[in-house]
Amino acid sequence: MRTNNDNLVEIVNLGKIYKNGSEELHILRGVDLKIARGSSILISGESGSGKSTLLNLIGGLDRPSYGSVKVGDFMVDHGSEEEMTAYRNQQVGFIFQFHYLMKDFSALENTMLPAFMGGEAKEKALKRAAELLERVELGDREDFYPSQLSGGERQRVAVARALINEPDIVLADEPTGNLDEKHSEIVAELLFDLSKFFETTLVVVSHDLSLAKRADRHLRLNEGVLKG
């Protein structure tokens, strides 16, 4: 679904207000952002600044209070429930901050789920998932359940899962959040390298400034707006 436009993501004056009882929390206050297709970007900011919120708006998990988000040709803020489902399945790969994997499913099954849920035949999805697990160097952990994997291994499975549908964009929320330095490096390297390999646009949200050296761009979220 290529367009002439080089920008995969176009965010214009994006705002998000949470209502907490009578109190209004104005988290995003007019974010403008363009992300070039195939590039990688790191967004940092203090805890509570709205990084996850921004990522969720791009991924179509939540709706903005105002402004617009366009990914490819899809107006994320306007999609119907069905369109959003298809969008999340086909165009987006998520790596979450807290809940990485489904605990009732093996590493292999976790990886294949987006493909299988998207309608691919199970055998084929499993085969591709196995290939991806090889790529994240977990070929020998296919049948392990999340509880049997280390934190770094879990995140690598999450990376494989995010990529299985070869999405236009991968949204990673603190992908190295709970890992030690060594494993942070391993996960980060895989994430960035594989995104390059699949020509996937990568948006990473993190406190971890060591990721900045891998990303094409680094922006900071502060007081509801993005700064270079």
Binding site: S52, D62, F94, F98, F116, M117, G119
Partner: protein
């Protein structure tokens, strides 16, 4: 197909492979056991009532109403009866035609007296009519009605009058005289045999005498009937009855067993349906447990569901997956309930016997403690044989089992719908924010 297999995969996984908490899991197992247990009485009622109704109807068909009855309200000559009998026998489905004369009287023995209802039957009926032979149990003596003063008494009657084989009984019958008091007429009978049908209403106060004696005693009261036994009495009996009537002169009235026993059958089926309905309600109440245990499961699986949705699983597929989960639960419960219910139904006679023995033992013990001087405790019987068959005939009814299983599965799916819908509505963003 792919859609269903995905729902199946998710539903199965979320339930069985699940690292669901002990509490949720024991709730689900509780729901399975609850529905399974509630199915047992439903199955027992369906199977047992079916067996009882069939057992009772067969007895009535063979001994009471016969398959078809022909009555004439004009007085008939011997030849007319014979002619009708011969004509009926020409029909390919007719097996046996015999005259029966109904009457009433007072029966005396040395020990007492009682009213009796009398059937006058041909002597060879017991040999000829295999259906009658099958359900008429000759407990003492033999079926013998070839001499004018021979009689057969039901067990109930014999006990009431304190008579047994070879004893003599005195029968008082009334002969109606127009415009005057009826003339009473005594006759003496020798008891040849004592029979039982296993069903109280057919047995009580029932006495058989030879048809020729009946003709003499009840000629004026005009109760001559032709009893007919046919092949396959449960098949199109009304059509057959109509065919038989058309082959005879118009003064014959014809009644099928269905016609004659309809009120009784209807009351049986009403009672049965009511019972089945109540038992079904119990299953429905038990199915509510599926709802509550699955709500627990959905709450516990919120992060999983949120993750599935975030990776583009449609709400519809999630609903379907949880419906599958509900069906798995229902299936487990149904298999368990069917197995135990059928086991109980097939052994119902033994179960009732065991229960009676147990109750009687407790009763005897208790009465000995409460009133040690009183005489032996009276035997209690759960199924009072005055109203029921002595032994319930059991034949497994597969169609009914199929419908029972189907309705319990549908109930499970229905009960799963509420939690399934809840799962479908989960908003991933709010869940994924939480630790």
């Amino acid at each position: 197909m792919n859609y269903l297999s995905r729902a199946n995969f998710l539903g199965f996984r979320l339930l069985f492979h699940s690292r669901a908490s002990k509490k949720t899991r024991s709730h689900i197992i509780g729901a399975i056991l609850g529905i399974g247990a509630s199915l047992i009485p439903l199955i027992v009622v369906i199977q047992v009532s079916g067996g009882m109704i069939e057992g009772i109807s067969r007895r009535f068909l063979e001994i009471g109403s016969y398959h078809v009855q022909l009555r004439s309200f004009t007085e008939l000559e011997e030849e007319e009866l014979n002619y009708a009998a011969e004509t009926l026998k020409n029909h390919p489905r007719v097996k046996h035609v015999f005259p029966v004369i109904f009457g009433e009287g007072l029966l005396y023995s040395e020990a007492g007296k009682t009213g009796v209802s009398i059937r006058s039957l041909p002597a060879d009926i017991y040999e000829e009519d295999e259906g009658l032979r099958r359900y008429l149990d000759i407990e003492e003596g033999a079926f013998r009605l070839d001499e004018a003063n021979q009689a057969m008494l039901s067990r109930e009657l014999a006990d009431r009058l304190g008579v047994s084989i070879g004893d003599r009984v005195r029968l008082l019958t009334a002969r109606p005289v127009p415009g005057r008091a009826p003339i009473l007429r005594p006759s003496i009978f020798n008891v040849q045999g004592i029979f039982s049908t296993g069903y109280y209403e057919l047995d009580s106060l029932s006495m058989y005498i030879p048809v020729d004696t009946g003709r003499v005693l009840f000629h004026e009261s005009g109760g001559v009937v032709l009893g007919v036994k046919v092949e396959r009495p449960f098949e199109n009996i009304e059509t057959l009855a109509a065919e038989l009537r058309d082959s005879l002169p118009p003064f014959w009235q014809i009644y099928s067993w269905f016609n004659l026993e309809r009120p009784m059958l209807e009351s049986f089926y009403t009672t049965r349906n009511l019972l089945v309905f109540v038992m079904f309600l119990i299953v429905a109440v038990a199915a509510v447990n599926i709802s509550s245990s699955m709500i627990m499961l959905v709450i516990e699986k919120e992060p999983e569901i949120a993750m599935l949705k975030s990776m583009g699983t449609s709400p519809r597929l999630i609903v379907l997956s949880f419906l599958h989960t509900g069906l798995f639960i229902g299936l487990a419960a149904t298999i368990m309930g069917l197995a135990l219910g059928l086991l109980a139904a097939v052994n119902i006679n033994e179960l009732i016997g065991a229960l009676e023995t147990a109750i009687n033992m407790v009763y005897a013990l208790v009465s000995r403690i409460i009133a040690p001087t009183a005489g032996g405790a009276e035997e209690l019987s759960i199924f009072d044989q005055s109203y029921y068959l002595e032994e319930i005939p059991i034949r497994i009814r597969f169609v009914e089992i199929f419908y029972t299983a189907l309705s319990s599965l549908s109930l499970s799916a229905l009960a799963a719908y509420i939690p399934a819908r809840k799962a479908g509505r989960i908003r991933p963003y709010e869940i994924l924010r939480k630790h």
